[in-house]
Subunit: 246 residues, 2 copies
């Protein structure tokens, strides 16, 4: 049984995946939370929600977060709801809408990263769509990574209140934590290409490095609560997909 | 120049695309809005925002909505913000979070629909990824459409307040309008497969039919403001992708 806590996070226990964006916010804030499916009997509890055997919201998929009687699904929705409680987003409405827009753009990027190794169907093994992946991944690396990181670089450059170090407002927000995770994941998946690409986006790289040094986050990243990247997750390293620099 | 109006919607002028989900909400509510890029010089105005030559939020992509000094991007973010003003979402927080979660699930489905004809890269023509599309589309039709529509069917069945006719709350919300659009689009793209699939999801079909009869929406759908589906949009009909019932 998951112990009593303010937040109950439900996500697949073996991967960082989309749940990691929520974990980073909770960990950075030092929030009281349980990672339910990683506790004993936790998977059974999670499945009860997904099978509609619990009251309230029926999630389409993990992650979802439970707090009191409220159940919230979809990563960006969870973050938009929880971030004010964690002091990880500015107070004013325009900044919150901007933060959510950025997080949804990160979600789009995450879906595209997944599709580099699963361009045909989620239901097929990677090995059964490797041919298509070998066409898709180099184009993603050459065109889409620079487009997305270039966008975040411009957002950083425009945000004077954040002294070019924060995407939204004057201080770190959950969106900064998520962009850190994007850089971590892309480096894991495409180690051959990413150093060259990141040199073009110094503000994104500086943000990544600054987030990694936040004390609570650094402790989390060094702990066994941080699941290592692996080839079941969204960011996967297949050498044949990290081809010669395009 | 776009005339004065309460809302200025910016989206590509030749397709329904993601902008259509916003249009449906504005039209159903009889809102005062301008579809900027379809007006004279409107494309130039839209490009100024995308190129960062306007103050405030830098959108990653259309659609975005301007209201007063506020600029909001990402379809689901726009809808979550505008729906309360249009009386197209319940008042309580739990229902609004549930509505947004459903809309984000619809956004995931929309991205997958797009990938049926662009499984390799958005930058390539369909003709240059037809081979991959012919593998991806039948799996999408057989596995993903039933998974998503089955999910919405269950959400409808569980929502007693909505008498199984509304996804959230007791009345029509923007999410109902969006699910209508999903059914319209899937029928356009996969006319051979969809009749059989939809028979399995009677609540989804009933919702679609009820939305189509809403007076303002019916007038909009019959007007020339409704751009016809075409092969530049998200929902495209390619006969070879709408194969024999799987």
């Amino acid at each position: 049984m998951a112990r009593s806590a303010r937040y109950h996070l439900y996500y697949w226990p073996g991967i960082q995946g989309r749940g990691e964006f929520v974990r980073l916010a909770l960990e950075d804030a030092g929030a009281d939370y349980v990672d339910v499916a990683r506790e004993r009997s936790g998977m059974a509890t999670m499945m009860r929600f997904l099978e509609g055997r619990e009251r309230g919201l029926l999630p389409f998929a993990p992650p979802f977060l439970k707090s009191g009687r409220l159940v919230i699904a979809q990563t960006a929705n969870i973050l938009a709801w929880v971030a004010p409680q964690l002091s990880l987003v500015p107070r004013d409405q325009a900044a919150r809408l901007a933060a959510h827009q950025l997080q949804l753009t990160i979600a789009d990027l995450v879906a595209e990263v997944h599709d580099t190794h699963h361009p045909v169907a989620s239901s097929l093994y990677y090995e059964d769509q490797r041919r298509e992946a070998r066409r898709a991944a180099p184009l993603f690396v050459r065109e889409r990574i620079p487009k997305f990181l270039g966008y975040f670089e411009r957002v950083l450059a425009r945000n004077r209140a954040g002294r070019e170090r924060h995407l939204v407002g004057a201080a770190a927000s959950y969106v900064d934590l998520s962009l850190f995770q994007i850089v971590e994941g892309l480096r894991y998946a495409f180690p051959r290409n990413m150093p060259r690409i990141l040199r073009r986006f110094p503000r994104v790289l500086a943000l990544h490095d600054a987030v990694a040094e936040r004390p609570r986050l650094a402790r989390y990243l060094a702990s066994n609560r941080r699941i290592p990247f692996n080839e079941d997750g969204i960011f996967r390293h297949y050498k044949e997909l990290d081809g010669p620099a395009g």
